[in-house]
Chain length 139, copies 4
């Protein structure tokens, strides 16, 4: 499972920007992209037939150990965004999910980034190998 | 335009709760309902053929002068919520919009509340009467 | 304990407004005042020799059942705010805490409001009477 | 000004974690660290005798073009955090500011990361060289 999974396993999530997400520069505040990435990851999971809620119920969770974002062009109030999320890599106890944000119907990437997660037991809070079913899902 | 408009002019907005909205009690943090109300108001406007973005472009805005929320039962991570927003009253320079939050497909109201807005000029920041087109829209 | 406790038991909390709290109107987004109220309530508790964290550790919590805010004048980026929180009433299983937001050193109230909380057991999630120590603290 | 400025120009900002910042894992939500970094950058500027508000008033701003965070150990509700911010590099039109988050009085770093900003004109929204006064300040 160490090969690049890039864009093989992906999903597009649509999101309408509320006033709440903007700042006084008139653009989406930089910190809010991480929430946007989370929403896109949730829907990526759902598109694969799972939900992250079920993961936690099954005894494992995926806390973020690293996150990064490149901001290329601002998103604005009332923009309909499309966030493409895809599994970039799943190796050992780590899972990397990348995201790209575009305005709906446009080519240009407004922001992109990725998060690295660690498979952790909800009981011991220690790293564990991903469940076999999860690895199956990625195939 | 002083009569009750209750539920004549309404719209239902669907929203999936992200982890970001929860707090350590395992429920949606109480402050986040106001953002949810805003999202529902935006979609109410859109359902009427307007957007709040166009309002601002036309020279008027609707800052909130009062907000209140009753919390009846908690919403949780990954819940698919339905937020019904409706114009409750439009009188003078004031507009009242009420919201009710339910889990999709369920009857029980999880939270409800309303916001009172004042029609304000984007130029002078002073109260103004609502534009005639807006009043037409409410009829 | 049904008498008005207004302003007898109060605390002032200082808060510097970050960019994150603003919206494209150039003012603090209306929903963020509820987070500000929470910060002020936390510090009110601490000023009384308790922390809300200890409450939860002792088996009871104080979920919000009602919140309201009057917005009078906007707070802006980098404003140093003073949020005065005070116990307004403690009756039966309910606790009401009011808050007023001012710019540091100024008289004018920018926003004010209150939250009503219910004493709830962390075990049963059912309403319980406030612990005796808590009532002592309010005297 | 291309040399490493690391930790020569730094400031420590204290922050008490509210319930609002936590998620249902019982820890500070990963996206909220970017707001925390912003707060620390604001106070770093202030410690140098400037405010970011004054920068914008002077005609330039510092939008974030890249951000990253390493999450090592979770921060929790009511933790008193210390966020050390320091100017890591200022080269051409770019400024890099790094942040480290610790629990007050503890050595261990809970999270660390950095943001890269671009000097931009508030009029043209185009990159500009940093004002001479700003470079002086960094010396």
């Amino acid at each position: 499972m160490s090969e690049q999974l890039e864009k093989r396993i992906s999903n597009v999530f649509k999101y309408r920007v509320p006033y709440a997400d903007t700042d006084q520069m008139g653009v989406v505040y930089y910190g809010n992209y991480l929430t946007l990435f989370e929403r896109a990851r949730n829907e990526l999971m759902r598109s694969l037939g799972w939900t992250y809620k079920e993961c936690e119920a099954s005894g494992w969770m995926l806390p973020v150990v690293h996150a990064e974002v490149d901001y290329k062009s601002p998103a604005r109030y009332d923009d309909l965004l499309e966030v493409t999320a895809y599994v970039k890599e799943c190796r050992g106890v780590r899972l990397e999910i990348a995201c790209e944000v575009r305005r709906s119907g446009e080519e240009a990437v407004l922001a992109k980034g990725f998060t690295i997660h660690c498979f952790v037991s909800t009981q011991t809070f220690r790293p564990i190998l991903p469940p076999q079913e999860f690895l199956e899902m990625l195939k």
